[in-house]
Every structure is written in structure tokens, then in C-alpha cells.
């Protein structure tokens, strides 16, 4: 069995590795942001699916259902479709939010969409993988006080990602004339950094929690 802390560290490592790997190829984030984001989302999403299945199996019965009030059942086609639709919805809403926050409406649609895809992959996808396909639960987990490890993990990463992306917007108007100051790049970097930070933080939290409980037992 894999502990959640290890999952966090593994993911953080994988994320960094993906980013570093992309620098070796011609489609790094700085050169071709849209291409990079697309490939990154596919790779990172696939990894999440793999990693989270057994975590979910372990936790589904006990924790994740607590908020929604009903246990998450195994994989069904219908629930998968529903989850997928929610995932698409989250991409769309991130796109809309980006436009509302000032991203250009008609130009740069591809860039905005790629960024939305990234955000959805970093926030909605983990929820889908670990909580099952109920939008209610996702929102509740993010907004409420966490009651279990999985919940606090999700909350931490989601909030860190969003805050990171938000902070990433600030360098855009500066007049440094750097190539990376173009719209989706700083926010994507911010989101990635925030996500990594969230992963590391929750890993630290779990380790400490474990130590605490051990010392209590002793």
C-alpha cells in the first residue's frame, strides 16, 4: 500500500521531471506554451489515474463519502461519463474565469484554453480520481474544513494551485520585456509551482501527522 505522503512526493517529482524533460525537447513551456500544456496535461492526467486508483479503493468507503453522505461506488460507465462531463465543465469554467479576469476574449483562445486545461488537470482531475464523479463533493471538499487525509490533501493542492495561478498574473504587466511574460505562461508557471508547493506541504503535513500519532501511541 502506498501512503498518501509518498503519493504526494511522487507526484511532485513527476511534475518536476515532466517540466525538465520538456526543456530538452523543442516544446518547452517558454517556446510553445500551448503544445507543452497539452502534452503535460495528458501525461500528468494519465499518471494521476494510475496512482489514485488504489488510494481511492482504500479510502472510498471510509472518508471521501463522509461529506456527500453516501459512499462512492466502484467504477461505472455512467458515473465515468458524468465525471468526465464535470471535468469538461471545469475546463470551461476555468476558461470563462480567465476571460472574466481580463484574458482577451477573441484572440489567444487557444492559449486560454490550454491554461484552463492545465488548471482543470491540476484541480478537478485529482478530485475526480479520489472522490468519484460528484461535483457537489468536489466543491464541498474544497470549501469545508477537511475531515480526512484525502480531503486535506485535495484542499491543500487545489487552493495552492489556484493561488499560485493568481499570483502568476502579476508579472504580466511589468515592462521587463521578457518572452515569458506573455499571457498563459506566468499563470501556468504559477499554477505548476503552486501545485508542487501544495503537494510538498501536504506531504510534510502527513509525515508530521504520522510522527505525532506514533509518539502518542508510544
Amino acid at each position: 500500500m502506498r501512503s498518501l505522503a509518498n503519493v504526494c512526493l511522487f507526484r511532485a517529482a513527476a511534475l518536476l521531471a515532466l517540466c525538465l524533460l520538456s526543456n530538452l525537447t523543442s516544446w518547452s513551456l517558454l517556446l510553445k506554451p500551448t503544445v507543452f500544456l497539452r502534452y503535460f496535461c495528458v501525461a500528468y492526467g494519465a499518471m494521476q489515474l494510475h496512482v489514485s486508483v488504489d488510494v481511492q479503493k482504500k479510502n472510498s468507503a471510509t472518508n471521501a463519502g463522509a461529506v456527500s453522505g453516501r459512499s462512492v461506488k466502484g467504477w461505472k460507465i455512467s458515473s465515468f461519463v458524468k465525471g468526465f462531463l464535470f471535468f469538461l465543465l471545469s475546463i470551461l469554467s476555468f476558461h470563462v474565469i480567465a476571460v472574466l479576469y481580463g484574458a482577451p476574449l477573441q484572440e489567444d483562445t487557444e492559449e486560454t484554453f490550454s491554461w484552463a486545461l492545465l488548471m482543470a488537470t491540476l484541480t478537478a482531475l485529482p478530485c475526480w480520481c479520489m472522490l468519484g464523479s460528484r461535483l457537489e463533493t468536489w466543491v464541498a471538499v474544497v470549501l469545508n474544513r477537511p475531515e480526512s487525509e484525502v480531503e486535506s490533501f485535495l484542499q491543500m493542492t487545489v487552493l495552492c494551485t489556484v493561488v499560485g495561478a493568481w499570483l502568476g498574473a502579476f508579472p504580466i504587466p511589468l515592462d521587463w520585456d521578457r518572452p515569458w511574460q506573455v499571457w498563459p505562461i506566468p499563470c501556468s508557471i504559477g499554477a505548476l509551482l503552486g501545485h508542487t508547493g501544495g503537494l510538498v506541504l501536504s506531504a510534510i503535513q502527513f509525515k508530521r501527522h504520522k510522527l505525532d500519532s506514533k509518539s502518542k501511541m508510544v
Binding site: S68, G69, L100, G102, L143, W166, A169, P173, L174, D175
Partner: protein, 1123 residues
């Protein structure tokens, strides 16, 4: 003194503190230059042994300091003639050329055909590039300072020594025609004046036609009728303001100018010089005022039938001279003394055939010699004149660095020695040439270094005054924070009087002490003394704090530990809001953030609102009981889309999403800064007559529809709440006058869509009648609100509404019973009718003696709403048709924000379910994040009503809505332009009371949804039913919380103002200080003043409403007692 006045006193005190802060800072930051009153005279030549040459005793050639080379001069000023308007690009075909290109071919023809008689220079103006500053520069030759801009429309006579004054003094006749700014500057000096009003930007032809009519006839008048002829054309500038340089009208105008120049050139005599110049350039949008190269780079063309230059001038592309160089050049060419304060440098190339010294020998290459020596001689006179000025200035003022001055003077002496030896020495001609060349360079170096030094020094700042200003502002901020915090506790009421008297004593003592100390140390009182300003501020602050500290209850609040504890208790949105405010203030220190401030403000506002939503959800869902959630989950197993969508949190989400969309939509109304090269001016900001084809109709009708919606929705809103049933002046106003005002505004816009020619031919009264009607209506609306602020209908005898009456007004019966729910029926009436039975029962039971009051539940918000809508109509008229949708959007956004706030508040009140007083307190306490959102919306709509914090984007044309442009004083245009520029500040500040009262009777859509979840305590629910009348029943909470709200809004504005002050002060030597930071400070300062005035006015209105309501209730109570 009532409680209301006491709180008003505290508010007034903080406002006064911050105003003093602004004054002190401004005095130190926008420092003025010392004007030296001395005038140059003909007899006192700056060089020893100088004076007019006596060649051949030709009296008419005799000049003052030099010989007089030309007898007469014609100066044609084409306002905003940019350098590239005057150049000629032969490779362009007429079809390819832009409207402003190749439209002045006469210059090109003269330059190629008679290269020795003509010259074209790039004419670099000093910023600020506004016409009056430039005229001052063009005649006095001195550098302007920033403060001069503010007096642009208050033409005041030039007191410094200047060319016009010198001409008049030496009996040269100056004939002037054109822009009447000149007559303000030089009221007595002209021999003959044909002035035309300049202020009306829409009028493209009056000034030009006037000049055309008189120019050539005046020229042709006999000898001695004139010596200098000045013509100032304004058409090009006005076309630029109105249509921009890319409009075909610009081509027409420039072609007209070409014709003028041609006719003048054809009639020139040999002893006359012609100058054609622009006083400044224009940006690609046709505005000016800043210091971009387009605005600074004007054109200067010089021509004379007599030989002007020795050989063609080496015409490099864009050879530049400074604008102030014109002054010494003209003076010496006409044989006049150079004005005393001139800092310009003669254009040496133009000094050709005269000398102050008799050259006895004619060595080979004499012409070269002469060419050099005359130029150098002119430079030498120029340099000595500047030396003299510098000496005098250094003696009078203390701002010039002494060591630099003495170094410069020594440098001049060295150069001059070298020059003397070169001339007098018996060296070979080549050596002399080399020495002359060195001397020439030396003089040029000296003059430009002096100019540089002065430029630096006059852009210097009075640091002490600036720091004092900032610290007084800090005091104001701290005081507002204290007032905000003490308002939490209602016991503070008993302390207010003491605080106020403490403040009064502090001010008095401080003032006396300040004056005494100033007299003791300096002996006199001057305007620059700081102590009389600083000490009263300090004294009042000390007076306030000591009396506040003496109060036991508030003592606890001020403990640092307590402060920290309350800080830690604050929810997430509080933190976010504070952070955003901090970010907003810090961002004012970076030029790229200032350039993009419009988009950043919208971004911050979005962030704030979404965090408010998150926090609201946190608050509500923090502890859902297990049972409830499970029940909910079970209920939701059957998927019901209707219930799903109308859940409270989703409703809140919808409101926020619509709000966000409004914010995003408003971004389409932004104006472009000069620095935003990527930005395209939106169609909404162009004037309607320049829009082409079908778009014109579409835009017009869209604007008219928006304009119509504003009063209509107010009417609906008020009649829904029963505020429209009475027959008071205010109600009549809302019913009839405001719609009429909207119609008049729309008609006025329709008139503006007419082609310019048609519009110009209309009689003057037809052009102004419609806006004037609107002004009258709006004024009467203001008066009626102040006079009769209550929109209530008291119905004492129920039978009055008999069946026939009900029949007439269909829904009234139903409305009455519905409204009766909100009617104040408890408290002020005999207790037997008290609570318990529902209003409906009472209605049915036919208790005739109970008076029915319509609209009591919304008595405060009705007055504020009428005020807001009236202001918005005024503002919409001034902003113009393109921005009417923006005004509507502003109101919609304001409404959504209020609804959101009200819903959150009501949820909170219901959940906490406190006592009566508790719920009143909860509802009327506006939290800090909400106030921050209000402030951010204020700045958002400053930008998105087509403004930027840059001088070229001020919309001067708004001063002509309803006026012809012939103003006696500057008050009216200043007010109109100010209202246009700070429209959003006025609107949001005037509607600030809405934040306080809105939760009491609006935001009810949340109630139904919540009723099931939080049943709440019946008493509180009753309390909520009473609406805003609760506020009247709890006057202490009402006063304290309104003071708190206003103080918080003041804090927000002070922090922003402080940000601009600190950044302007800290970056005072920054490259872009005059371009970005100083204008930002000026805009923020003026906006702050506007906000302060509006705040005080709306606070007084609040008190007035409450006062009249108290009187009304008293009367009602008396009546009930008699029954």
C-alpha cells in the same frame, strides 16, 4: 449638538486632516519657479562695449544689442503643427498619403527652390505641451514648471520679461489675430487685436476664418502700421482633438493652411521674416499635454525673401532646435534686447550678415569669416545675457547650487578670453578659425549646461514639506482607523463630545503655537511656513487620542494585544481585502502597473468579489450538522434541476458571475494611454458624428435605450416599494422630470450626430437649450431631495380608498396589503395594535384607525436612490452618448453588489438570530472587504468611463454641453470637466449610504431559501420585516455605523492617495515622473478631494433624511395620541 452632528464633526476632522496633507505635499512636490521681475533694457548690453553698431549711420538698421537685421516679422502659429505635417515625402502619391502627409507642399517648394532663404527645423517643446505654457515659453524663453498646467484656462498676464513686452517698449507695433489666449497673457501690449474665442474645441473654423480675414489686409497696410504680425491658427489643433490626425478633415485643414502660407509668402517684402511654427505636436489620437515625442516635436519653418543663410542649411532629417531658442533668435534679428529670463540659445546659422564690430580688413574667405563671427557674436551676447540672469537669480533664490553656478561662470570667462584673443590677436586666419570654432562650442556648451542645471533645479522638490504632507496623511489614516474601531462599541457615544472638544482645543492651541513659533524663528509669516499647518494637525490628533484614551470602554480597543487578537479573528475575505488594498497602493510605485492600472483594478476587483463569495460560503457551511447533510443528500438523490439551481449558494454564485461579466463588459469602455501601444480606442469613445453608416444609428439607439432604462427602472423600483404613491416634489420629480431629462439628453445626442456643417449653422440657442433643460431638471431634483427627502404616503382613513378608487388603479389594493407587511405598525403606534396578528388580518379586520404608511420600509434607500439616479443622469449627459451604456453598466453592477452584500448580511443575521439590537447591528455593520470592493469599483469605473490618469485623456469637450465656450470665469468649465473625469467617484460616493441601508429591505430572495434551513427567532424576523425603519428606531447604531462606513471608505482612499504620494515623492527623479507619476498623483489628489466633498454632502443628506423622518414620526405620534 445632536449625535449626528457629532459624528459629522469627527468625519469632517479626518477629511480636513487629509486635505491639509494633500496641500502640504502638493506645495513641496509641484514647486514653482521664482519669477524675476527685472526687464532687459536696450541701454544695458550684457557685454562690455556692446551695443548697436553704427554702420553707415543707417538709423533703421540700428538695433539695441546688435544690429537689426530684419525690420519686420510675421509669425504664424499653427497650433499643434507636428513636425511630420510639415515635411514632404516625394515618394508618396497623393492617394497613398495619410490625411496629414504632404499637405503643406509650399514649405517643400520653398526649401528646394530657395534653399538659402528658408529653413525647416524640428521644434522641440518643453512639456507640458499645453497651448498656454507653450506661448509663455515662446515669448519669455524660460522653462515651465508643472504647476503652470493648472492655470491653463485661467489665462493670467505674463509678468516676466518677454518678447512682446520688449517690442511694445521699443515702439514696435504688434498686430495680433487669432487665439484669445494671447490677449489674456498680454492684455495691453498689442497695437491691434483681432481675438477669437479658443476654448470651443468643436468649432473648427471661427478662429481660422477670423485670422484669414484680417491677415493679408493687415499685411498690405502701409509702412509703419505694423512691425510684427502674429497670427495664431487653431483649426489643426481642434481637428486633432475632435477627429484625430487620421481623419480627412485634417487634410482639408492643412491644405487651407498651405493656402494661407502661400498668400503670405507671395506678399512678403525683403525686410520681412516669416516664421511658421507649431506650439506643440499631437499624439496619434490628436491630444496633447504630455511629453511623448509626438507631442513635443513641433515644426518651425523660417523664410525670408532676403538672404537668410549662407549656403543651404545642412538639412539633416529632423534637425532640432529647442522651442525657447526662438526668443533670443527673434530678439536679436529684430534688434531687440533678449528678454531677461531667457534660457534659450540663438540659432547661430541665422546670423549671417551683421556684426557688432567693424571689420577693417577683408581677408580672403571673408564671407566664411563673417558667417562664423556673427554667429559666435550672437552666441556671446546670448551667453552673457544668461550669465546676468543666473547671477540675479542666484542672488534672489536659494535653489541654484552655488558651486555649480560659480564653476559655470568661470567656464564662461575662460571661453570668452579665448574668444577675445582670437579676434584681436594677430594670428593667421586658420588659427583664428580654429579658435572661433572652439569659442562657439564653448558658448553653446555653457548655454546648454545652464539650461540643464536650471531644468534640474526647477524640477527639485521641497522634501520637508512633502514629508510633512505624508505624515499628516498618516495621522488622518490612523485617526480614521481609531474612529472605525471605536464605533464598534456603542458606549463611545458618551465620549464623542469630549473627543470633539479635545480636537477643537488641539487645533486652537496648535495654531497659536505654530504662528508664535514661526514669528519667533523667522520673524515673519510667509506662505511657505509649515508650522501653522503642522501644529494644529498634531495638536488635534493629540487632543483626540487623549480624550479617546480617557474613555474606559475604548481603552481596551486600543491595546496592541487586543488589536492583534482582533486581527487574527478576522475572516479570510478580510485578509484578502487588506492584501488587495496593500497591493493596489504598492502597485502605484511601478510605472508598468500604472500604465496598466485599468486592467489591474478590474483584476483586483474580480479577485475580491470571488473571495467574498468564498468567504460567504465558508461562513454558511462551516458546520453543517451531520443529519442535515444526510437529509439533504437523500433529498437530492432524486435529481430536481429546479431545486438544484435555486440553492442559496448557487444563487450567490450567479450574482457573482453576472457581476464579473459586468466588470468584464465595462472593460470595453476604456480609453487608451499613450504608452499602451497595443490598445485601440474603442468606438464608444469616438464622437457620434465620426461614426459612419449604419453603426451610427445602432450606437445612437443603444445609448438612448440605456439612457431611458435608468429613470424607468428607478420608477419601477420605487413604485414596487410604495415610494411613488405620494405627491411630494421628489416623487413628482422621479415620475415626470427625470424621464424628461433622459429624453432631452437623448435628443441632444441625436443633434450631436448631425454633420459638423449642419450643426455649426444652427442658431446658438438651439445648440444649448436641451442640455440646459437637463441641468435645470437635475438642479430641481437635488433641491427637492434636500427639501422633501421622504417619499411616504400616510393614509389615515382607510375608507378613502373606496372601491371606485381601487378600481381606477388596478393593482393598488393588492399592493397595499402587500406593503402593509412592511409598514411600521409597531412601536410608534398605540400598543394594542402591536405585534402578533399579521398585517393581513388587520386589513381584513377593518381597523380603520390604523394609519397605513406606504414606503416606510424603504425610506432611506429611496432618497439615496433618487440621489444616485439624478447624479447618474447628470454624469451620463456629460460623458456623452458613447458612454451611456457604461453608466448603465455601472448602476447594474452597483445594484448587483448591493444585492450580494444584502443577501450575505441577511443570511448572517438570520443565522445568528440575536436580539433586536443585535440584528440591527449585524445588518448595519458594513464589513471592511465590502467597502474595499466599493472603492475598487470606484477606480474601476474611473477608467472604464473613458479616462486614464494622464493629461491628454481629459475630455475637455465636455465643457461645451450646454455652453458655447465663451465663459466669463473658469468655474463652470472646471466643474463640468471635473464631473466628467471623476464621474464614478461622484456616483459611488453619493450612493455610499446604500451600502448601509440595503440589507434592511433588499436581498430578500435569499430569505425564502434560507427560511427552511434557519428558522430564526420570531422577533428578529419581525424586525427584518420592518425594513429600514429599524434604523430610525436605533439611532445610535445608525449614526455610529454610518460614521464607521464613511471612515472606512476614507481609509481606503487615503491609502491609495498615500500610495501615489509616496511613489511620486520617492521617484521624483525617475525618468517618467512628469509623464506618469506626477499626473497620477494629481489625478488621485483631485479625485480624493471630489470624494471628500461628495462624502460630506451625502453624509449631510443622510442626516437630513433622518431628521425629517424624526419630525414626521413625531407628528404621527401626536396624531395617534389625539385619536
Amino acid at each position: 449638538m445632536g449625535l449626528g452632528l457629532k459624528t459629522f464633526g469627527l468625519l469632517l476632522w479626518t477629511v480636513a486632516l487629509s486635505v491639509v496633507g494633500i496641500t502640504l505635499f502638493t506645495k513641496g512636490f509641484l514647486l514653482n519657479r521664482l519669477e524675476v521681475p527685472i526687464k532687459s533694457s536696450c541701454e544695458e548690453s550684457p557685454i562690455e562695449g556692446g551695443g548697436a553698431g553704427e554702420e553707415g549711420g543707417e538709423t533703421q538698421k540700428k538695433g539695441c544689442w546688435t544690429n537689426r537685421q530684419f525690420k519686420k516679422a510675421i509669425i504664424l502659429i499653427v497650433d499643434a503643427l507636428r513636425y511630420d505635417f510639415a515635411t514632404f515625402n516625394a515618394s508618396l502619391t497623393p492617394e497613398d498619403a495619410l490625411p496629414f502627409q504632404n499637405k503643406l507642399p509650399v514649405l517643400h517648394e520653398l526649401l528646394t527652390a530657395r534653399p538659402e532663404n528658408s529653413a525647416l527645423f524640428k521644434f522641440l517643446a518643453d512639456p507640458p505641451t499645453t497651448t498656454m505654457q507653450r506661448l509663455k515659453g515662446l515669448t519669455t524663453g524660460s522653462l515651465p514648471t508643472f504647476i503652470d498646467v493648472s492655470s491653463n484656462f485661467a489665462s493670467s498676464e505674463v509678468m516676466e520679461d518677454n518678447v512682446i513686452q520688449q517690442l511694445a517698449q521699443h515702439d514696435r507695433k504688434v498686430v495680433f489675430m487669432g487665439d484669445d489666449t494671447w490677449t489674456g497673457l498680454y492684455p495691453k501690449q498689442f497695437h491691434k487685436v483681432y481675438a477669437f474665442p479658443s476654448f470651443n474645441v468643436k468649432d473648427l473654423h471661427t478662429v481660422d476664418n477670423g485670422v484669414l480675414e484680417h491677415l493679408v489686409p493687415e499685411m498690405e497696410k502701409e509702412e509703419g502700421e505694423w512691425d510684427v504680425l502674429i497670427g495664431h491658427f487653431l483649426g489643426v489643433d481642434h481637428v486633432g482633438h475632435r477627429f484625430g490626425p487620421y481623419h480627412p478633415t485634417m487634410g482639408e485643414k492643412l491644405t487651407q493652411m498651405d493656402g494661407v502660407i502661400r498668400s503670405v509668402v507671395s506678399k512678403l517684402t525683403d525686410d520681412t521674416m516669416l516664421f511658421v511654427m507649431g506650439d506643440h505636436g499631437m499624439t496619434r489620437t490628436g491630444d496633447h499635454g504630455g511629453d511623448s515625442s509626438d507631442e513635443v516635436g513641433a515644426a518651425l519653418f523660417i523664410y525670408s525673401p532676403a538672404k537668410l543663410l549662407q549656403g543651404a542649411l545642412q538639412q539633416q532629417e529632423g534637425q532640432a532646435v529647442s522651442q525657447i531658442d526662438f526668443v533670443p533668435t527673434l530678439s536679436l534679428l529684430l534688434g531687440l534686447p533678449i528678454p531677461f529670463s531667457n534660457l534659450g540659445m540663438v540659432i547661430p546659422e541665422l546670423f549671417l550678415t551683421f556684426s557688432t564690430k567693424n571689420q577693417t580688413n577683408n581677408p580672403p574667405g571673408y564671407t566664411d569669416w563673417a558667417k562664423n563671427i556673427t554667429g559666435v557674436e550672437a552666441l556671446r551676447i546670448n551667453a552673457y545675457q544668461i550669465k546676468k540672469y543666473l547671477d540675479v537669480y542666484a542672488r534672489l533664490g536659494e535653489d541654484l547650487p552655488k558651486d555649480v553656478v560659480s564653476k559655470l561662470q568661470k567656464q564662461l570667462a575662460e571661453v570668452d578670453n579665448a574668444y577675445q584673443t582670437a579676434i584681436d590677436g594677430e594670428t593667421s586666419i586658420d588659427d583664428t578659425f580654429a579658435a572661433l570654432k572652439r569659442a562657439k562650442e564653448g558658448y553653446i556648451k555653457y548655454i546648454s549646461e545652464v539650461k540643464e542645471m536650471c531644468r534640474k533645479v526647477w524640477a527639485k522638490f521641497d522634501m520637508v514639506s512633502m514629508v510633512c504632507g505624508i505624515s499628516v496623511l498618516c495621522l488622518a489614516c490612523i485617526a480614521s482607523v481609531c474612529i472605525t474601531m471605536q464605533s464598534h462599541d456603542r458606549r463611545v457615544v458618551y465620549n464623542l463630545e469630549k473627543q470633539l472638544s479635545g480636537i477643537a482645543v488641539g487645533v486652537g492651541l496648535g495654531f497659536i503655537l505654530g504662528i508664535v513659533s514661526e514669528i519667533c524663528t523667522n520673524g515673519t509669516l510667509t506662505t511657505s511656513s509649515l508650522a501653522p499647518f503642522m501644529l494644529p494637525c498634531l495638536g488635534s490628533f493629540i487632543g483626540y487620542t487623549t480624550s479617546a484614551w480617557s474613555n474606559k470602554s475604548s481603552k481596551q480597543t486600543y491595546k496592541v494585544l487586543e488589536l492583534w487578537r482582533t486581527l487574527k479573528k478576522q475572516p479570510v475575505d478580510w485578509m484578502v481585502a487588506t492584501m488587495l488594498v496593500g497591493w493596489n497602493a504598492c502597485g502605484l510605485g511601478a510605472n508598468s502597473f500604472l500604465i496598466n492600472e485599468d486592467a489591474i483594478t478590474a483584476f483586483l476587483l474580480q479577485s475580491l468579489v470571488w473571495s467574498l463569495l468564498l468567504a460567504a460560503n465558508f461562513n454558511r457551511q462551516s458546520a453543517p450538522s451531520k443529519e442535515q447533510t444526510q437529509k439533504r443528500a437523500r433529498a437530492e438523490k432524486s435529481f430536481d434541476i429546479g431545486r438544484y439551481i435555486t440553492r442559496p449558494s448557487l444563487l450567490l454564485l450567479f450574482v457573482v458571475v453576472v457581476f464579473s461579466i459586468c466588470v468584464r463588459l465595462s472593460m470595453f469602455f476604456r480609453a487608451c494611454r499613450e504608452e499602451q501601444w497595443w490598445c485601440e480606442t474603442p468606438h464608444f469613445l469616438k464622437s457620434l458624428s465620426t461614426v459612419e453608416g449604419g453603426h451610427k444609428n445602432a450606437r445612437y439607439f443603444f445609448a438612448a435605450a440605456c439612457m431611458a432604462l435608468i429613470p424607468v427602472s428607478l420608477r419601477l423600483f420605487m413604485s414596487k416599494n410604495g415610494n411613488m404613491d405620494s405627491v411630494t416634489p421628489t416623487v413628482l420629480n422621479v415620475k415626470y422630470a427625470l424621464p424628461v431629462a433622459a429624453v432631452c439628453t437623448s435628443l441632444y445626442w441625436a443633434m450631436q450626430a448631425l454633420p459638423q456643417r449642419v450643426l455649426d449653422n444652427l442658431p446658438a440657442w438651439e445648440q444649448v437649450i436641451l442640455p440646459r433643460v437637463v441641468y435645470v431638471i437635475i438642479f430641481s431634483s437635488f433641491v427637492s431631495i434636500v427639501w422633501k427627502p421622504l417619499c411616504l404616503l400616510l393614509q389615515i382613513d382607510r375608507n378613502y380608498y373606496g372601491p371606485d378608487r381601487t378600481f381606477q388603479n388596478g393593482g393598488r389594493d393588492r399592493q397595499l396589503s402587500k406593503l402593509y407587511n412592511q409598514v411600521k405598525s409597531r412601536g410608534t403606534l398605540p400598543p394594542k395594535n402591536g405585534s402578533g396578528t399579521s398585517a393581513k388580518d388587520e386589513w381584513d379586520a377593518d381597523t380603520k384607525r390604523i394609519p397605513a404608511v406606504y414606503g416606510l420600509a424603504t425610506v432611506y434607500s429611496a432618497a439615496s436612490l433618487v440621489m444616485t439616479v439624478t447624479c447618474s443622469q447628470l454624469v451620463a449627459l456629460l460623458l456623452g452618448d458613447g458612454l451611456a451604456p457604461a453608466v448603465l453598466l455601472l448602476l447594474v453592477q452597483m445594484g448587483l453588489y448591493l444585492e450580494f452584500h444584502a443577501a450575505v448580511k441577511r443570511t448572517q443575521a438570520r443565522k445568528e438570530g440575536l436580539s433586536q439590537e443585535g440584528s440591527t447591528t449585524v445588518l448595519s455593520q458594513v464589513p471592511w472587504p465590502v467597502v474595499v470592493g466599493w472603492g475598487l469599483m470606484t477606480s474601476q469605473y474611473f477608467f472604464y468611463t473613458g479616462h486614464q490618469a494622464a493629461i491628454p485623456t481629459i475630455r475637455f469637450e465636455s465643457a461645451f454641453t450646454g455652453f458655447y465656450g465663451d465663459f466669463d470665469n473658469n468655474l463652470i468649465p472646471a466643474m463640468l470637466i471635473g464631473l466628467n473625469t471623476f464621474a464614478s467617484q461622484v456616483l459611488f460616493t453619493m450612493s455610499l449610504p446604500l451600502l448601509l441601508v440595503w440589507p434592511f429591505c433588499r436581498g430578500k430572495w435569499m430569505d425564502k431559501k434560507l427560511a427552511a434551513g434557519h428558522p430564526g427567532n420570531q422577533e428578529v424576523l419581525d424586525e427584518l420585516q420592518k425594513g429600514e425603519f429599524v434604523l430610525h428606531e436605533h439611532p445610535v447604531e445608525y449614526r455610529l455605523n454610518s460614521l464607521r462606513l464613511y471612515s472606512m471608505f476614507l481609509i481606503f482612499n487615503i491609502i491609495k492617495l498615500g500610495g501615489t504620494m509616496v511613489s511620486a515623492g520617492h521617484l521624483r527623479n525617475h525618468l517618467m515622473v512628469w509623464n506618469i507619476f506626477a499626473p497620477r498623483y494629481v489625478f488621485e489628489g483631485v479625485s480624493f478631494l471630489v470624494v471628500c466633498i461628495a462624502m460630506l454632502l451625502s453624509y449631510l443628506l443622510l442626516l437630513r433624511v433622518d431628521h425629517t423622518l424624526a419630525g414626521w414620526v413625531g407628528k404621527l405620534r401626536d396624531y395617534c395620541k389625539t385619536q
